[in-house]
Structures are given as structure tokens and as C-alpha cells.
């Protein structure tokens, strides 16, 4: 897990010097902080395999490598509209791969501010979350500090 997060960190901020620090929080969360990124930008993996990075109160949600490998080729991505209010763990869409529809669950509460329109034409992009092209939705967070509640 730590190795995965470390490599993810390297991808997100390749040019910046990266001071890797991992520690246990009270709820059993392991968090990796890349000092090269904006202070509040943290990539966390929920147990549901949706991944979220935050910056200035806006969360960008994608799927983790693990989830993407389990899915295989994504042939369709359906997402709720901009403006939809989501509570943590609400369904915000579905991915289809080899006849299986997998629901997507919001890792945080907030309001959908943007959806990745490129996925309509090219759903395979979801596997590129680490490279910033495969994000699903962006949302304005109702509680930015709620990020700490996510368990990895």
C-alpha cells in the first residue's frame, strides 16, 4: 500500500522534491503527504476504491489502480449532472466493463461542480487517473476536513 502511494506521489509531482512521510492516525488511516504539492492536496483511497485528491476545498474523484485492474476495459461511464448534491457514499454514477455495471460511490460530501466530458467519447480514460486525464467528477466539498475520515 505504501509503495503504491509512494509511486502515485511520484507521478503526481514528478518534478518536485518529495518528502515522504507516513504515519498512523487515530482511526487507523495511513496518509502520505507529498510536500511538493499544494498543502491541502492529499490523495486518499477509500475502501470503495474511489480515489480523491483535494485542493482548496475542491475534490477530484477518480478510481484507484486496484479498482481499475479489477474492472478491466471500461466501455461506458455514466455520471450524475453538475449541481447534484452528494453525501458521502452516495452513488454518483456507474462504470460498465464486460457486461458488469459497477456503481461509483462518493468518498466525500459536496456538490458536483464538473464532470469529465471526455469520458463520454473515451471511457477508457478512467484508468489514467494518476496521470490526471481519468478523473470522473470534481466537487466542491461541504466539509474539507472530512478527508480525515476516509480510511484506506
Amino acid at each position: 500500500m505504501r509503495a503504491v502511494l509512494c509511486s502515485l506521489c511520484a507521478v503526481l509531482a514528478p518534478a518536485a522534491p518529495c518528502l515522504l512521510r507516513a504515519w498512523q492516525l487515530g482511526a487507523g488511516v495511513i496518509r502520505t503527504l507529498c510536500m511538493g504539492l499544494a498543502l491541502l492536496s492529499v490523495c486518499k483511497f477509500t475502501e470503495k476504491h474511489e480515489c480523491v485528491t483535494t485542493e482548496n476545498g475542491v475534490g477530484t474523484v477518480g478510481i484507484s489502480n486496484f479498482a481499475q485492474e479489477a474492472l478491466g476495459d471500461v466501455v461506458y461511464c455514466s455520471l450524475l449532472e453538475v449541481g447534484t448534491k452528494l453525501n458521502k457514499q452516495d452513488e454518483f454514477g456507474a462504470l460498465e466493463s464486460v457486461k458488469a455495471a459497477s456503481e461509483l460511490y462518493s468518498p466525500l460530501s459536496g456538490e458536483v461542480s464538473e464532470i469529465n466530458e471526455a469520458l463520454a467519447e473515451n471511457p477508457g480514460l478512467v484508468s489514467k487517473f494518476c496521470y490526471e486525464d481519468g478523473w470522473l467528477i470534481k466537487m466542491t466539498l461541504s466539509n474539507p476536513s472530512a478527508l480525515d475520515e476516509i480510511r484506506s
Binding site: 461506458y76 455514466s78 457486461k99 455495471a101 456503481e103 460511490y105
Partner: protein, 405 residues
């Protein structure tokens, strides 16, 4: 034996309703005096598990096999939704058998205009349903068995389920050549599809369902699953047409009953559970609280048509009018099942441009649906000049347009 069988019929008959039990207890102070011994045992068992009050959840022990008494596709799909949403399937996998009266079922992200002949379906009274799982379009009738395997997300394994079906088939017909493909189809004799698969994966539970062709009307199936609509451009998941065959054609002893029993026996052996098939009534709110509103949602226009991924139609058709051929061009963009952009072009010597403009602008925002279009175009016609020829041209045009919806 009858009492035991009756106990299996969960949710049917007032004998097992909580109110009649309370009635018995009130009269005698205990249930033992009025009710025969075997019935009482069964009844107490059910009562202890509080089946009528708490619903279906509590009855599932180590795994369960159920069979719907309904042939309504929406009610049966609602059972899947309900189990998926409400049950903890940890160590309690469920196998669900269901059959439907003639219906076409499309996958979650499909376009019905691309997948089936909606005009023919309307003429023949065939229902259209959109399921919540992925995959392609299928035709159901009473000669087709649907099987749903409910498990936890961790235990989700489609190939395992298909191998189970193959073992069941070979148990009753050892020489039958049935194989599962990489796309999770079952092929008979290496070429005929007898089963198609789809699934849904949720938070903690998942289900894999598949068809099994026993004695379906193959000719009707082919005509219904052939779309006549031209010029559709869409990102929706498309079906892959396959040659199909009924198992009954291969072996006349393979009736739906025989197949269901065979699969149930194999399932029970594999999961070390009881091989009784329990009948369930999918409209019973005491067993499945909230299920009827799920069935209602599945029947709404918003779900069936409104969930169609954005698509566009770019087509043209010829109209014969007073021995001359006219070409009408149609460009329509449809989002959430409603017309977003509408451009119907006809020669302006035939129909005045202002009238066409009125038609185009009034269709924007309306449902891509022949009923709604009929209503709108009738209203519009009243605002047009009272000219017999004009009205006749208008009607010809509108009929053609409704023909693509």
C-alpha cells in the same frame, strides 16, 4: 407434507400473516391448540424468525433458492434491486429463478432505439425494461429462464456460476456440449448461444444474472431485437447479435421445470444448502418492504427512455406525394430521452418554411416519443391555415417522423 410445502410459499395466503397468528394466540393463549402439529412447528419457526413483520431478510440461513410467482419483468427486476440493496449476503448466497411474459430487456447503458424494434413492440404489446446491470439486449418469454446469483462483492464470480449451470446440464444430459465463453456466454455445440450474462456490482453485494433459452420463440426474438432505425450515432453500449438455439430443440426432455430443478440441485450441492425452491411473491410488502415503489420506478418513462445516453439521429426519408418523390432530412439530438436539437428539412415548395420552423422549435424539449409528438403536432396543426392540402402534407410528414421514434 402439504403443510411443509405451504410454509415454503412465503408471503402467500393469510394463514401465515402475522395478524392471523395473533388472532390464534388471542383466542387460546397459545398457538398449539388451534393449529395442527406440523403446521404449528413450521409456523413457530417462521414466527420466531419474525418473517411477516421483519420481512425476507431473516429467513435466509445458509443460502437460499427462490422462484418468483410473478411473470412481470418490472416486479422481478425489483426483487433483484431489493435483495441487492437490503440484504447482507455474507455466507448467505441466493439463487433466484424468474420468468417473464414477453418483454425486451436492455442493459443499463443501452439505447432502445438502437437495440430493438420499438414500433413492433408497441403493436404486439411487448414490454420494454431497462435493467440496472450492464450488457446487451435480450428477449424474454416464458420459454426463457432467468437466473440471478446473489453474493457478496468478494464472492462475485461469474465463471463459477456458469460452470455450475454447465454441470447441472451435464448431470441431466451427459453428452450435451455446452461451454462458457470468455464473454460469459454459454454456447451449445460450439456455435449457438443459449445464455447471455450481465451483472451489477454494488458497495458490498453483487449479482450476476443470466438467461437460459429453453423454448423461446426464436423467430419473434430475431424480429424484436432488430432495430429498423437508421442514422443513429451513439456511445451507448451496443449488443453483439448471436445465433441462438433452444435447449428443447436439442433434447425434448429439457423443459423449464427440469432445467430449474437441475440447477437448483447443483447449487444446493455446491453451497451445501437446502435444495428446496421457495416461491416468493414480489409484490408482498411484508416480505420486501418498499419493493413496489422499486417496481414502479422501473416502469417510468424517465428510467426506461430517459436514461438513454445522449445520441443523435442523422437520416432522411422519401415521401411520395402526388406522384413526386420528396426527400426529407432529419437531424435530431436527444439527451435524457428528450429532443435537444431538432432540424427537419423539407423542400420549401412543399411545406412553407415558417411551418417547418414552428415544428422544429416546438419539438425541442419534448420527449422523443410518438405519443407526445402526436399531441404536440395536433396542437400545432390547429394554428396553421385551414388548408386541406397543407393538412394532408403535415400529416404525412408527422407520421414519418413518429415512425423513427
Amino acid at each position: 407434507m402439504v403443510a411443509r410445502k405451504a410454509c415454503r410459499v412465503l408471503g402467500i395466503g393469510s394463514a401465515f400473516s402475522s395478524s392471523s397468528h395473533r388472532e390464534a394466540v388471542r383466542k387460546t393463549g397459545s398457538s398449539s391448540m388451534l393449529i395442527p402439529f406440523s403446521m404449528k412447528n413450521c409456523f413457530q419457526l417462521l414466527y420466531n424468525r419474525q418473517v411477516p413483520a421483519a420481512g425476507f431478510k431473516k429467513t435466509v440461513k445458509n443460502g437460499f433458492i427462490i422462484h418468483s410467482i410473478s411473470n412481470d419483468v418490472y416486479q422481478n427486476l425489483a426483487v433483484e434491486d431489493w435483495i441487492h440493496d437490503h440484504m447482507n449476503l455474507e455466507d448467505k448466497p441466493i439463487l433466484f429463478f424468474w420468468r417473464n411474459s414477453p418483454s425486451v430487456v436492455i442493459g443499463r447503458h443501452q439505447n432502445p432505439w438502437q437495440e430493438c424494434n420499438l414500433n413492433l413492440m408497441r403493436e404486439e404489446g411487448i414490454k420494454l425494461a431497462r435493467r440496472r446491470s450492464g450488457g446487451g439486449a435480450v428477449y424474454h418469454d416464458m420459454g426463457n429462464i432467468n437466473l440471478t446469483f446473489f453474493t457478496t462483492k468478494k464472492k462475485y464470480d461469474r465463471m463459477e456460476n456458469l460452470k455450475l449451470i454447465v454441470r447441472a446440464l451435464n448431470a441431466i444430459h451427459p453428452q450435451l456440449d455446452v461451454q462458457a465463453t470468455k464473454r460469459f456466454d454459454l454456447l451449445l455445440d460450439g456455435q449457438f448461444k443459449i445464455s447471455g450474462t450481465a451483472s451489477k456490482i454494488g458497495r458490498t453485494t453483487a449479482y450476476h444474472h443470466c438467461t437460459l433459452l429453453c423454448s423461446t420463440d426464436g423467430t419473434f426474438l430475431s424480429s424484436l431485437l432488430k432495430s429498423p432505425y437508421q442514422g443513429i450515432r451513439s456511445n451507448a453500449t451496443a449488443s453483439i447479435p448471436s445465433l441462438v438455439k433452444n435447449l428443447l430443440e436439442k433434447d425434448p426432455t429439457l423443459t423449464c421445470e427440469v432445467l430449474m430443478n437441475a440447477v437448483a440441485t447443483e447449487y444446493a450441492a455446491y453451497h451445501q444448502t437446502d435444495n428446496h425452491i421457495h416461491l416468493i411473491n414480489p409484490t408482498d410488502e411484508t416480505l420486501f418492504p418498499g419493493i413496489n415503489s422499486k417496481a414502479e420506478e422501473l416502469q417510468t418513462w424517465e428510467w426506461i427512455y430517459g436514461k438513454t445516453p445522449k445520441f443523435s439521429i442523422n437520416t432522411s426519408f422519401n415521401v411520395l406525394y402526388e406522384q413526386s418523390h420528396l426527400n426529407i432530412k432529419v437531424f435530431i439530438d436527444i439527451k435524457n430521452g428528450k429532443i435537444e436539437i431538432c432540424n427537419i428539412e423539407a423542400p420549401d415548395h412543399w411545406l412553407p418554411l415558417e411551418i417547418l420552423d414552428k415544428l422544429n422549435s416546438s419539438l425541442v424539449g419534448s420527449k422523443f416519443c410518438p405519443t407526445e409528438t402526436t399531441m404536440l403536432t395536433n396542437i400545432l396543426l390547429r394554428t396553421c391555415p385551414q388548408d386541406h392540402k397543407l393538412h394532408s402534407k403535415w400529416n404525412i410528414l408527422c407520421e414519418k417522423i413518429k415512425g423513427i421514434m
